[in-house]
């Protein structure tokens, strides 16, 4: 498996670490229900999935990868910082 890091180019999967589904981060003050859904519940599709990987053995960038979980086809890679997952309002 190879992932094309937007900063480094195509690299072997072993340079990357997987976190899971790329979901918008709730506000820190959001309640247990919202955080429970964010941390625990998953749509878990057998098909295209947006997910977070870190190129930790490379440039360190967190990436939002779109990948088909049934075929492992890579459908897109973007820097996670541009992916709009960030906490929307308020300060920590």
């Amino acid at each position: 498996m190879r992932i094309t890091c937007p900063l480094c180019g195509a690299r072997d999967r072993r340079e990357f670490t997987y976190k899971g589904a790329a979901l918008p981060v709730p506000a820190l003050e959001a309640g247990v229900a919202e955080w429970d859904a964010h941390v625990h519940l998953r749509d878990n599709p057998a098909g295209p999935l947006e997910e977070l990987w870190q190129h930790d053995m490379g440039c360190g960038a967190w990436l939002k990868v779109t990948r088909n979980t049934a075929t492992h086809e890579m459908l897109g890679v973007a820097l996670a910082q541009d992916a709009g997952l960030a906490i929307k309002e308020g300060q920590p």
């Binding site: 899971g20 941390v39 057998a46």
Partner: protein, 421 residues
């Protein structure tokens, strides 16, 4: 079951002498009926065991098991065959203890030799911290009423002299031994439960994918299948590897991510490893099948997958762990690698529970642990379905524990990231 259908050494002799013409199907292939008391979705080990215990322990007969492909085609047929009861957290302890006891009587109960081999499992530890964790675990196991021993280096060396004791990146300090643990012939477990359930009149229906779950007024009334609609008073989901998709048919989102776990077998070799051996460094587990193949695995591939196949990094990592820990077997050649789809939960422990929909029951989230759980999972799930109360050995496998924070069972302490268990 008719006495003439029983399996025995005498029967094998008799059939052998008469050209083996008298063997009959191990199970029927019935057409689905329009109506069942219980429909079980998933004809894997857990689904088949559930059907068997529903019939045997609770007297139900009007049961169907619906299987998308062939019986036992999921993880029960693609694991590393390890059976053990060496968990340490409440919830898991009593459940796997119950399971091991069922394993010990299963073959006689089912009249099917699943080659349950209580050859013992050794969990090797390498340093003080791992030793303390092994001691804690051993004490938990003993407090539960099961067997556990701590062996130190010299005792271990007598038992398994071929490990790398002398020049190991992580020296071997000792091991936790559970003698009653071991292996079983995985396919035979599925077939044994299938045959047992069939003999109680359970309809095992292969090539029958469930395409929808019918819910009316918050209550389940049946399922849609590739072979037409089937009505059911109760629907029980035991479709590990596809749990999320099946549950989604009823509008449920589960705390599950699907991941691929690879497993490996080598060419057949004369006996060299007599136990199941696992290593705290490397997460390697290895044993030798009765056919002579070394059977082993280690971590998940760590990315979500439904592809039932893995990639090279984890294959190589697993082989590297063997090269480090068991260099006496590295001339063995890898014959076959494969992948199974694991229902990974946020705490690495399973779910056997009601769902918010009346009459819909969930058995899912077995992570790495599904095979050894097979009989108890069937027994406890059957109990829940039949009585609407959890079995005493499975009171903690709650669907809502992640939200409530009560009774989390994170044996590895890796936290609520699905792929880290």
């Amino acid at each position: 079951m008719g006495i003439s259908d029983r399996f025995s050494g005498w029967r094998v002799l008799k059939e052998g002498l008469t050209g083996n013409k008298g063997w009959t199907p191990h199970w029927r292939d019935p057409e689905p009926k329009r109506d069942y008391d219980v429909v079980i979705v998933g004809g894997g080990g857990h689904g088949l065991a559930t059907a068997y215990y529903l019939a045997k322990e609770h007297g139900l007969r009007n049961i169907a098991v619906l299987e998308k492909g062939y019986l036992g085609g999921g993880n029960v047929g693609r694991n590393t065959t390890i059976v053990r009861a060496n968990y340490y957290l409440p919830g898991n302890s009593e459940f796997y203890s119950h399971s091991l006891k069922l394993w010990e009587g299963m073959e006689q109960d089912l009249n099917y030799n699943a080659m349950m081999s209580q050859r013992g499992i050794l969990n090797v530890f390498h340093n003080d911290g791992q030793r303390d964790a092994a001691v804690r675990r051993a004490n938990s196991i003993i407090n539960q009423g099961d067997d556990a021993e701590i062996l130190y280096r010299d005792q271990l060396k007598t038992l398994v002299p071929f490990l790398n004791y002398d020049n190991n990146r992580f020296p071997i300090m000792g091991a936790l031994l559970q003698r009653r643990a071991g292996t079983a012939r995985h396919d035979a477990v599925a077939w044994g439960f299938a045959r047992g359930a069939d003999q109680f009149g359970v309809d095992l229906i292969q090539n029958c994918e469930v395409t929808g779950i019918d819910v009316e007024g918050g209550k389940v009334v049946g399922v849609q299948t590739a072979r037409g609609p089937i009505r059911a008073k109760k629907v029980a989901l035991a479709a590990a590897g596809r749990s999320s998709q099946v549950a989604a048919m009823a509008g449920l989102t589960l705390p599950i991510e699907s991941h691929v776990l690879q497993a490996f077998v080598t060419e057949g070799l004369k006996p060299v490893i007599d136990h199941v051996i696992t290593f705290a460094e490397g997460h390697l587990y290895i044993s030798q099948s009765d056919k002579g193949g070394l059977v082993f695995g280690s971590y998940l591939d760590f990315y979500s997958s439904y592809a039932a196949r893995g990639n090279l990094p984890m294959q190589e990592y697993t082989m590297e762990a063997i090269a480090a820990m068991v260099p006496a077997v590295t001339k063995a050649r890898l014959l076959r690698s494969w992948g199974g789809i694991m229902d990974m939960t946020p705490d690495g422990s399973p779910i056997i529970d009601h769902t918010p929909i009346e009459g819909l029951y969930l058995n899912a989230g077995w992570c790495y642990g599904g095979f050894k759980a097979t009989p108890a999972s069937g027994d406890c799930f059957a109990h829940l379905i039949a009585t609407d109360r959890p079995h005493a050995a499975a009171t903690r496998f709650k669907l809502d524990r992640f939200r409530s924070g009560y009774g989390l069972m994170d044996e590895e302490g890796t936290g609520a990231q699905h792929n880290l268990h």
